[in-house]
């Protein structure tokens, strides 16, 4: 192997480097100031600046590299392609919005905000590595970087009880799943002789039907991802952690973490790899169906808004898994994959919006937002209520929002590959989901109450919510070109 680390490689990973350096800024300043927090606005700007710089660099690098014959970095450790770019951007935007929420949320803004920014940016760094990883080991490193930062972020909340428990649960189960994942990696390594993903995929077609060890390995790896994206029955941590974690973190987990995990998932499942094992293909379908149903039926009876969103995010994982399966059986990878990516874009936007609204309500670190608490919100804050309505309708898949088009692309590709029954399950589940997505709307608009949200008139969270809402609708209506761009990027 030729370990030539050139300047070109460094340029290609410049977003990560910048992100890393930026993550150090606030905490360094804090140290230099004698362990005194600078103003939280300044910290926020530093963090956002880092994310923005990373995003700009990401874009630049992608523009420059996308046409080059060799998009690899660090001798096949990382790859710069459509998935890494798009999902990376999603992750950065989601991180940025979460950062804004953290700034406005009483559970996160305070003593240790600089550390929080550091962790958030580190987590984002992990995400960038994760989506760009072309090697299972690198992938694992990215995964752990992201996760470890998250564990700490959750544990750092000013809320003392539930967040600790959530962090602990997340940590134990996450490590447990990591071990499973890694065990799978070791088998793959043992059978293929490498952890380089393209090589593994190259062997998949042949090994999956002949070598049991390989099969065990690939199943463990896939299930490891299933844990990260909360596919039932590996979902059990999700509701507890989302509920216990401070809302901005929950938002980050539900969107960025999920998006990058799915992106990494996509890397494993590519062209026709699943066809070799009919049973794996079948059981994944059942897992998808189970996830959708479980997420939706459980969401119906929730009263805690965040927990409801957590279950809904499980259900959405089920929908996305349909897309992943489609990719696995499809000859046209880009068709299904772009559906998945597009869905991730849409899903992240609307979920961020919904969590942002929840965050807006939290008056202090111990706030628990029940759905019924929203009564009368539409009268007090018609604009915000309307934004939440848009997010929820989008989550339910009502046109012309991005949620509808996301589902449309996802299910279209599934139907195109003959997975009609999965599509049917998907659409039927979205009907069930409509029921609980309507509930907050009902409460806001149709019940009397005098709730007041905690935010000031024009705080950054509100701006983020408004922007997300506008994009949820606009990206829905003009989804065609974006989908085409994504698809072009992936092919």
């Amino acid at each position: 192997m030729n370990f030539n680390i050139g300047i070109a490689d460094l340029i290609r990973v410049s977003p990560m480097i910048v992100l890393f350096l930026a993550s150090l800024i606030p905490i360094t300043i804090k140290v230099l100031r004698g362990n005194r927090e600078q103003s939280s606005e300044a910290t926020l700007f530093q963090g956002l600046g880092g994310l923005a710089a990373a995003a700009i660099l990401q874009m630049t690098v992608y523009m420059a590299v996308s046409d080059s014959p060799n998009p690899m970095v660090f001798s096949n450790a990382l790859v710069i392609d459509g998935v890494s770019f798009w999902v990376g951007i999603i992750a950065l935007i989601a991180s940025a919005i979460s950062l804004i929420l953290m700034h406005d949320n009483p559970a996160t803004n305070g003593e240790q905000f600089s550390e929080l920014v550091f962790l958030t940016l580190s987590s984002a760094l992990g995400m960038l590595i994760l989506v760009a990883a072309a090697d299972l080991l690198v992938l694992f490193i990215g995964l752990e970087t992201m996760s470890l930062a998250l564990y700490l972020m959750i544990a750092m909340s000013h809320e003392q009880k539930l967040s600790k428990e959530a962090a602990f649960k997340y940590f134990i189960l996450g490590s447990f799943a990591s071990a499973l994942f890694l065990y799978g990696v070791s088998f793959l390594f043992g059978t293929v002789g490498s952890t380089y993903i393209p090589e593994i995929i190259q062997h998949t077609g042949q090994l999956i039907s002949s070598n049991r060890l390989f099969l065990i390995g690939i199943v463990l790896v896939i299930l490891g991802f299933c844990f990260k994206v909360s596919i039932a029955p590996f979902h059990a941590w999700t509701p507890d952690v989302y509920q216990g974690a401070p809302t901005p973190h929950a938002a980050l987990m539900a969107t960025a973490v999920k998006a990058v995990s799915f992106a990494a998932f996509l890397r494993i499942i590519t062209t026709k790899s699943l066809v070799g094992s009919e049973n794996l293909f079948t059981i994944l379908q059942w897992l998808a169906v189970l996830t959708m149903i479980l997420g939706n039926v459980a969401a119906i009876i929730q009263n805690n808004f965040k927990r409801m969103l957590a279950y809904s995010s499980i259900a959405h994982s089920g929908y996305i898994l349909v897309g992943i399966i489609t990719v696995g059986v499809s000859e046209r990878t880009s068709f299904g994959a772009s559906g998945v990516i597009f869905y991730l874009v849409g899903y992240s936007l609307m979920t961020l919006g919904a969590f942002a609204i929840v965050s807006l309500f939290e008056k202090d670190e111990n706030s628990k937002i029940q759905i019924d608490d929203l009564a009368g919100y539409a009268k007090r804050h018609p604009v915000m209520a309307f934004c939440l309505t848009i997010f929820l309708l989008s989550l339910a898949g009502v046109p012309p929002t991005i949620g509808f088009f996301g589902k449309f692309y996802l299910f279209t590709s599934a139907i195109g590959e003959g997975l009609i029954w999965l599509a049917l399950w998907g659409v039927l589940n979205s009907v069930i989901s409509a029921y609980y997505y309507l509930r907050p709307i009902v409460v806001m608009y149709m019940k009397e109450g005098d709730i007041e949200d905690a935010g000031s008139i024009m705080n950054p969270t509100r701006v983020a919510i408004l922007v997300s809402a506008v994009f949820v609708v606009l990206l829905g209506i003009f989804s065609g070109p974006i989908y085409s761009i994504v698809e072009k990027a992936l092919s």
Binding site: L148, Y151, E165, Y183, V185, P239, D240
Partner: protein, 108 residues
């Protein structure tokens, strides 16, 4: 291969079986023990089982990659443990308790 070889000659499968036993033991620890610290240790055991399997594969394939991976895994495991312990300490400060049955407030 005659069955006596199974005992006489130590091969890849022996290591793999051992690693599997370790892994399952770690899993059992996670599933069954009540003490949070023991659970943490069980997770570490699982990771070590993985390491063993990496090393074994590496050895029998005559490749160094696996050995390097183990370094990575160990590093990450160390980081994980530190994070885990940090969380546990903060939890202990709050609850004065490390029995995991105590942490069931989030449910439903």
């Amino acid at each position: 291969m005659p069955s006596s070889d199974l005992f006489l000659e130590v091969g890849l499968s022996h290591y793999l079986v051992l690693s599997a036993i370790l892994f399952v033991a770690g899993m059992a620890g996670v599933l069954l023990r009540r003490n949070a610290i023991v659970i943490l240790m069980s997770v570490e055991l699982m990771l070590n089982a993985v390491n063993l399997s990496f090393v074994a594969f590496s050895h029998y394939m005559g490749q160094m990659d696996g050995q390097i991976m183990v370094f990575f895994v160990m590093t990450i495991a160390a980081a994980e443990v530190s994070v885990g312990l940090a969380i546990l300490v903060s939890i202990f400060k709050r609850y004065k308790e490390v029995n995991i049955r105590f942490f069931e407030h989030l449910k439903g």
